[in-house]
């Protein structure tokens, strides 16, 4: 005898079920996470307090959450275009870095100058840097049929090395005691807080704008339809005359452009200079965000916020509870698994079968 576990498609899934699934998934992940914290000898109640309550109730922490969600939102919105079209851009981290490098480059080149044109120019440069970098895997795929998964991923490491080289070499701050970092940006090159004494800057508004535009594009525009068609039924997209290669290029440009813009916002609004590791893996985290949000713009917006809460909570948990940061990564993975499992269980029923071996 052997036991078999099989997935059997479900026929109808109620709306309530679809709405409740992610909520239940979050609760399950919290429960498992709590058990792990408890096994590590810390109080789950305390951890819950630090991870979830504080970031959501403390006004200062709340701003940090919104700041942290900004790059996640921008990048994941861009990734949705790729993933919906069945194109696999895994290299948003690299495009994010290039956006920071291009935007930061403008800041360094205009160091000492003032004027309201500097920030817009940095934004343009950042978006452009991300687009150019994303164009590489797209063109390699179009020209030579090379898998964009590999090329986009490997270009991340190239971008990291490029950043390293720049801040240790030509762009190193001469007055920086040999630290690998650029000159600190002047005020003209930094996104300013929206209100007195706060930290939240206009980047968050741009992220929300990107969400709105993406909603409109997918609901109502021909281009959004073409992207979906190309992902769901390539032969139908071909019948409609949607050019496969052009779609590949455009979704990569959108995705790279938004990631690049996010990179510029990060260096200008958060870091204030170029230094290695400003990416923090946000470009990879955004992949999780996009899938947590089930590849919908609204979903990506909500899951950016959830993940940002966790990241901020993790920072203070490191300090106050001595919990390792890796626990947060673990928890993000856990959340992804429970959400995807919930999604699958919506579509399929689990069935145990006994069978003669």
């Amino acid at each position: 005898m052997s036991f078999n576990l099989a997935l059997v498609p479900r026929r109808d899934v109620s709306l309530i079920r679809q709405v409740l699934t992610p909520v239940v998934a979050l609760l399950v992940a919290l429960l498992i996470g709590g058990v792990i914290v408890w096994l590590m000898g810390r109080s789950p109640a305390k951890a819950f307090d630090v991870f979830l309550r504080e970031p959501l109730t403390d006004p200062w922490a709340l701003q940090e959450v919104l700041l942290k969600s900004t790059p996640l939102m921008l990048i994941s919105i861009g990734l949705i275009f790729c993933f919906r079209a069945n194109r696999w851009n895994i290299g948003a981290e690299g495009q994010f870095l290039l956006g920071g490098i291009f935007g930061g480059g403008v800041a360094i080149a205009t160091h000492g100058l003032t004027g309201p044109w500097i920030l817009p120019l940095m934004m343009l440069a950042g978006a452009l840097g991300g687009m150019l970098y994303a164009a590489i895997p797209a063109m390699l795929r179009n020209r030579f049929g090379i898998s964009e998964i590999l090329t986009s991923l490997m270009l991340v490491y190239v971008a990291e090395l490029l950043l390293d080289y720049l801040v240790r070499g030509p762009w190193r701050d001469p007055k920086g005691f040999n630290f690998p970092q650029s000159v600190p940006f002047t005020d003209a090159a930094q996104l300013q807080p929206l209100f007195e004494g706060g930290r939240l800057h206009a980047g968050f508004a741009l992220a929300l704008l990107a969400v709105l535009v993406a909603i409109l594009v997918f609901r109502r525009s021909l281009f959004g339809f073409a992207v979906r068609a190309s992902g769901e039924a390539p032969r139908a997209a071909n019948f409609a005359g949607f050019n496969e290669q052009r779609i590949t290029l455009v979704v990569f440009l959108i995705s790279g452009g938004l990631a690049g813009l996010a990179g510029m916002i990060e260096v200008s609004g958060q870091v204030g200079q170029l230094r290695p590791g400003f990416g923090q893996g946000l470009g990879f985290t955004a992949i999780i965000v996009a899938f947590l949000g089930r590849l919908s713009p609204v979903g990506a917006m909500l899951s950016s916020l959830v993940i940002a809460v966790l990241l901020i909570g993790a920072e203070s948990a490191q300090v106050s509870l001595k919990l390792p940061f890796d626990l947060t990564r673990f928890f993000m993975g856990l959340l992804l698994i429970t959400v995807l499992a919930g999604e699958s269980l919506n579509r399929y029923r689990l069935e145990f079968r006994k069978e003669a071996a």
Partner: protein, 506 residues
């Protein structure tokens, strides 16, 4: 009559408010070939999917060999000896034919042992199949043969065939009938769905007729005429094709001049030196056995695929050889591809959204933002004009019955009022009345001054519609000849041997 194999009692299935099956009773005996008839959307596929464990009945009982059973999955149904050949192919596109055959056979892989068995079976039943080619390189007819062979490999006690002959040539269909007869005489029970009433009358000894999800009659199809059967199905007679008034032919709308096309994959058919002209006002049909280059020819004409190595395609007087499908549409062309799900439509997309696929280049649906009011209105007009039966007001394409989806796709293109209409398999899977309607609409379109090119494996259809017929064979196209002067025997010869060596085979 042999022992009872299947007894369905009171089977009921609803999709939302639509009752696709309403207290259906049906009994199948060993050795019986039993037809399931009904117009498009009558509920035939739905009923069979429940017997194969793909759908679960809302009410009713299924007995197999006298025992009541529940069938939670196709696998459970297969374990009970039930095999099914689907109306919409259920093959994995990237796998080879042999691998596809291996998948439902529990514990088997595509190895030399299985290959030997499959080859033996294929030979025994006269089904020619290239086992090592990935399915996406195969034509509909070839896919159909794989589906049939796959079902046969499971040695089913009950075999369900959902419109298996709609893409087979007459010869292939004959071979299939012989197969089914020998299976039946060996004790299997066979359920056979078809819209071709003549073949039903030739093959089946019982027929259950569904209308609107209910059984309206059970009869011996050999004892009644095809017209009577059709009347039972639709509740009224089927009209004959009405000949259109004589009309003058206009300019050539489609002109292929020495066209040669290299196939997309390694397995496609190479088209060589094809000449064809279709003038405004005439209907030209391309007949031939599936897999002789029709798919490649369609793709080259529509602009969907193929690498043109020589020659020219002209539409409405303009050279479009290097232009894409949408610039061809802008010149007044419309195309109906062979695969209605996944090529002609986005399966998960609602019908209103599926309008966009072929309309966006010409239909003024809005430049940046789509005019959803307009796409909805167009979809409703198509549904009304072509009597598309839908389970809700704007269902997803995949929710339509096979024939109704075909009506929608053809209707969507005709609604564009094309000056050149290219149709691959216009009446694949549509019931007799709807087939007449589609053919009539195409004839009327030609009478109103459009050029119509029909690619069809249904010779009756080609003969009934076309002014001229050309035949595809091995990548060559014979000269198009006027229909009245052309006999079936001549066409048959062209289909199997191509044109006389003077211009053909070389």
């Amino acid at each position: 009559m042999g022992p009872e194999r299947i007894r369905l009692t009171g089977i009921t299935k609803a999709f939302g408010t639509l009752k696709a099956n309403d207290h259906v009773d049906l009994t199948l005996h060993a050795g019986e070939i039993h037809a399931l008839l009904g117009e498009n959307g009558a509920g035939k596929s739905t009923l069979m999917k429940m017997l194969y464990g793909l759908l679960r009945p809302d009410a009713g009982e299924i007995r197999i060999n006298g025992q009541p059973v529940t069938l939670p999955s196709p696998r459970a149904a297969r374990a009970q000896g039930i095999g099914m050949v689907f109306q919409h192919f259920s093959l994995f596109e990237d796998f080879t034919a042999l691998e596809n055959i291996a998948i439902p056979l529990d514990g088997r892989i595509a190895d030399a042992g299985l290959r030997a068995e499959v080859e033996a079976k294929a030979r025994h039943f006269g089904l020619a199949i290239a086992l090592d080619r990935p399915v996406h390189t195969l034509s509909a007819g070839e896919r159909q043969r794989i589906e049939i062979l796959r079902a046969l490999m499971q040695e089913p006690q009950v075999l369900i065939l959902d419109e298996p002959t709609s893409v087979l040539t007459p010869d292939e269909a004959e071979a299939l009938f012989a197969t089914l007869e020998s299976l039946a005489s060996a004790g299997a029970g066979i359920l056979f769905i078809s819209h071709k009433l003549e073949e039903v009358r030739r093959l089946c000894s019982r027929a259950t007729i569904l209308r609107g999800g209910k059984v309206v009659a059970e009869t011996d199809p050999r004892a009644v005429s095809a017209a009577e059967l059709a009347a039972l199905m639709v509740g009224e007679g089927v009209l004959d094709l009405r000949p259109v008034a004589d009309h003058a032919l206009g300019e050539p709308m489609l002109h292929l001049d020495g066209l040669s096309v290299a196939p997309e994959g390694v397995h496609g058919v190479t088209l060589r030196d094809i000449h064809l002209t279709v003038r405004a006002g005439e209907v030209v049909a391309i007949a031939g056995v599936a897999g002789n280059g029709q798919s490649e020819l369609y793709a080259a004409i529509s602009g969907e695929g193929g690498r043109i190595t020589a020659g020219q395609i002209r539409m409405a007087g303009q050279d479009v050889t290097r232009r894409d499908i949408n610039s061809r549409r802008r010149l007044g062309a419309a195309f109906v591809p062979e695969a209605r799900l996944g090529q002609a439509t986005l399966p998960q997309g609602p019908l209103s959204e599926n309008i966009i696929l072929s309309w966006h280049a010409t239909g003024s649906l809005g430049r940046w933002l789509l005019d959803t009011v307009r796409t909805g209105a167009v979809a409703r007009r198509v549904i009304e004009r072509f009597d598309v039966r839908t389970p809700s007001s704007d269902p997803q394409a995949v929710q339509l019955s096979g024939g109704n989806l075909q009506k929608y796709v053809v209707g969507r293109e005709i609604e564009r009022q094309p000056r050149l209409m290219v149709v691959d398999q216009p009446s694949w899977g549509v019931d007799a009345r709807a087939a007449t309607h589609i053919r009539q609409t195409l004839l009327d379109l030609a009478a109103a001054g459009a050029a119509v090119l029909v690619i069809s494996q249904d010779l009756d259809e080609a003969m009934a519609m076309a002014d001229r017929i050309a035949v595809m064979h091995g990548g060559y196209l014979s000269a198009a000849r006027p229909v009245p002067a052309l006999s079936r025997a001549e066409i048959g010869l062209l289909m199997t041997q191509g044109e006389s060596p003077a211009r053909g085979a070389a």
